[in-house]
Symmetry: C2
Subunit: 301 residues, 2 copies
């Protein structure tokens, strides 16, 4: 693991570098698969509407696929499409044997029922791990989901690769989203952390957070987590990526994390920057899930 | 709600009495259904092996069904039966239109794969709520499970009926079982409590518990929760029912809760006794889930 050490010997995790390491291993395995079977993993992405952030995320995922040799297909649908249009696109990929992972970029336009869309993805290709059966199997002890959601999986991977012990540690997850907060809390529990989930109704979140050895923040509120929220020596994983206006930046805005970095970096022992922390790990975990899916379907180890 | 008030004005919740109230409402609804449709809800129970505690639990459930007019069927299978025998029994009930709820009494004999057995119960009749799809839908925000597991549902019902506010309160769940601990933590989160789950690897569980406004203990360790674990005024729900030898008792043993009752009753504002607290509520919630299932299937409101 490569990291920059600042004067407080805080390790700033370089998610880009770590994800590159992971991606290079995936690329090697994909080459091996191609050589052995004449096949490569395939990922289908469905993008509905014209959200700029979603378009950027999808583009990044496609580029990452290309780089490691995973085949990718994108279906773009107009904002005003019907739920059946999205379902039909999913069904086509469900049946396509060259596709091993299907991803619907969220959020969907408001008029589309997310539940009906996500439930259409066949379980064996649900590389985002958002299907309720995968989530149930993530929650239930003694069961294994086919896929673990990419962002929380990336958070845990960062912790493990940094040598952070999780078992028996106090962990706080800030945010209860289905995409990050919920699966992150379930995953940390699987690793035997003592987990508290903090949300909008929590009283004294700063006090609760300041007792945690591990903080995973996924609230989407810039600068929510101040320096005095952090226990000295804690590991801080910042999942927030909120666009905030910044005339000094190229596009007129920059991505802001949940954590007040300048303050937290003086207190934490390990911290992820935004951007360049969790973001690249999410993409790497998506590739990882797609490869795992192809290995499972093609019976290749 | 009827309760006994002791000298510290601690309310001791009488689960028997509260459950009787619930059962009488269920009985009225069942009579109404019988009158209107000529049909009653039906519950099928599958009991594998000769465990005495399981036999007692099943007997209690059957008696409770009879009392409210729910039809019940029990299939008993020998300890050494095959997993296919249990699955076949389940399949029969899945197809039986007079059955609206199917329950497999746990624990199963060790050689039987619990996952394979529970997954055979059709989702619409899973009145225990243990199917991973029901658990996933309990965990995921914005979704609704068809059924919520009976014991945690009973715990929440006790809290609500006692006027305990859950939203924004600190809650601790002790124990991570799939049957109680996990769904209890998910349910409390649904009610917007700030939930911490405590388990065998948790450090300083007493300190964490002593900060909680609501304690749900389902560890199965008699006298684990001592008086100094309880925050003054907290609501304490004791799910533990561990048989401990007691020559003074009829059968030579008595059921012990997780909470050291004599100590906790002096500190808590609300407490459930063992037996007579959560236990009767579990049975009432099972009847409730079976009735709800019949109403849904027969389109009766």
């Amino acid at each position: 693991m490569v990291a920059r050490i600042n004067e407080q010997t805080t390790v700033v995790l370089d998610g880009k570098l770590i994800s590159m390491e992971i991606r290079s291993k995936i690329a090697a395995k994909v080459r091996q698969m191609k050589k052995g079977l004449g096949k490569v993993p395939g990922l289908a992405v469905i993008l509905v509407g014209q959200r700029r952030d979603s378009q950027t995320y999808v583009r990044n995922k496609i580029m990452a696929c290309e780089e490691v040799g995973i085949k990718s297909l994108v279906t773009e649908l107009p904002t005003d499409c019907a739920v059946t249009d999205v379902q039909n696109a999913i069904m086509r990929f469900n049946k396509d044997p060259s596709i091993h992972g299907i991803l619907v970029q969220l959020p969907l336009p408001q008029h589309l029922d997310e539940e009906k869309v996500l439930d259409a993805v066949c379980l064996e290709k649900d590389v985002d791990g958002f299907h309720p059966l995968n989530m149930g199997n993530l929650a239930i002890r003694g069961r294994e989901p086919l896929f673990t959601p990419c962002t929380p999986k990336g958070c845990i991977e960062l912790l493990i690769r940094s040598g952070v012990e999780i078992m028996g540690k106090k962990a706080v997850v800030i945010g209860t989203s289905n995409i990050v907060g919920l699966p992150a809390s379930l995953l940390l529990q699987r690793h035997h952390a003592t987990v508290t989930v903090i949300h909008a109704f929590t009283q004294n979140p700063e006090q609760i957070t300041s007792e945690a050895d591990i903080v995973v923040s996924a609230a989407g509120v810039p600068n929510l987590v101040r320096g005095n929220w952090i226990k000295p020596g804690a590991a801080v994983i910042d999942v927030g990526t909120t666009p905030v206006e910044d005339p000094g930046c190229e596009d007129g805005y920059r991505l802001a994390g949940d954590v007040c970095y300048e303050e937290a970096v003086k207190v934490a022992s390990i911290i992820t920057p935004v951007p360049g922390g969790v973001g690249p790990m999410t993409v790497a975990m998506l590739l990882c899930n797609t490869l795992d899916s192809a290995k499972r379907m093609l019976n290749f180890s």
